[in-house]
Symmetry: C2
Subunit: 200 residues, 2 copies
Amino acid sequence: MSYIDMRGAVGLTHLFLRERVALGDRVVDATCGNGQDTLFLARLVGPLGMVWAFDVQEEALAKARTHLSEAGCLSRVKLLQAGHEQLAAHVEGPVQAVVFNLGYLPGSDKACITLPETTLAALKQSETVLFPGGIIVIAVYTGHPGGREEGAAVEQWVASLPYQSYSVWCSRQINRPSTVPYVIVVEKLVPGEQCGQPHL
Amino acid sequence: MSYIDMRGAVGLTHLFLRERVALGDRVVDATCGNGQDTLFLARLVGPLGMVWAFDVQEEALAKARTHLSEAGCLSRVKLLQAGHEQLAAHVEGPVQAVVFNLGYLPGSDKACITLPETTLAALKQSETVLFPGGIIVIAVYTGHPGGREEGAAVEQWVASLPYQSYSVWCSRQINRPSTVPYVIVVEKLVPGEQCGQPHL
């Protein structure tokens, strides 16, 4: 098993994804960008799996296409130039995981950011296409204008999910400034499964 | 790879431990109790590994001994009837992981709880015996008298660790009451290693 660097939000999201995604799974990258998470997912699901990857920016998808092609993973990825609020219209569920990397695309136009309304729409659609036992993993960025509000909106939604049906963890780097990214993971629980832990 | 139930603090600590502990490693269970985490660790490190397990309660250690023996793992575990604030005197470091399950032993005398002063002493000693790349994982319980104060003391200490040398994540179940247990993981970073993530 390869080493996953837990420094930073992306590392922690990958740790959770590797825990729940297996060969042959169907998964979604709701914020493709340059394709970093897409490639990670494509490797997790293998040649018989399927990744849907959404981005509104043509330039980002072109870069992602190049990276995926160079890694020999392009055939298992469906790159979609569409907002993730159209997720349910494109994805043939159920899927095992959906990943969100909020905020703006690194190295790009910082005016193009994810927004609370469409992010929430995409999250709600993700929940509907998710397999029981599947996860939604969200890296939240609050350093840019509007980021904090988007994070609050996401937190409010995940906090409203009933704990009997959803396990929700919010992870923060508490030896760093409060503006650094944090990670939310939502697991849709398998109905009727008992928690094996002696105390919760 | 077996399924780890992420519901509850114990599940999440096991997820982090499995990520960083491998066959042959040396590890510490700072709060042995009935031996649940000790057995998990003993299986992770295998027959060539070594687990030191601390508890002040003779009854708890007797139960742990039985469980470990039944599982065929006892020979790789050193059960110590001692407070974890004596950790450094017993453990032959460096070790790959130290786990803390704070509060009281389930099903036992609730008067016997971990306390901020000794917990902090044990945490500081854990840090000194930890390999670079190793982790301290802490399940914090706040539902009993004194639990919240102990949690605050632990958080204050981990928040003081410089981020250049320690990755610290604090994970909370934000769709549950604030009194449910939460998890802190501290990774001692390998000096000179670069973070592979594009943005932190």
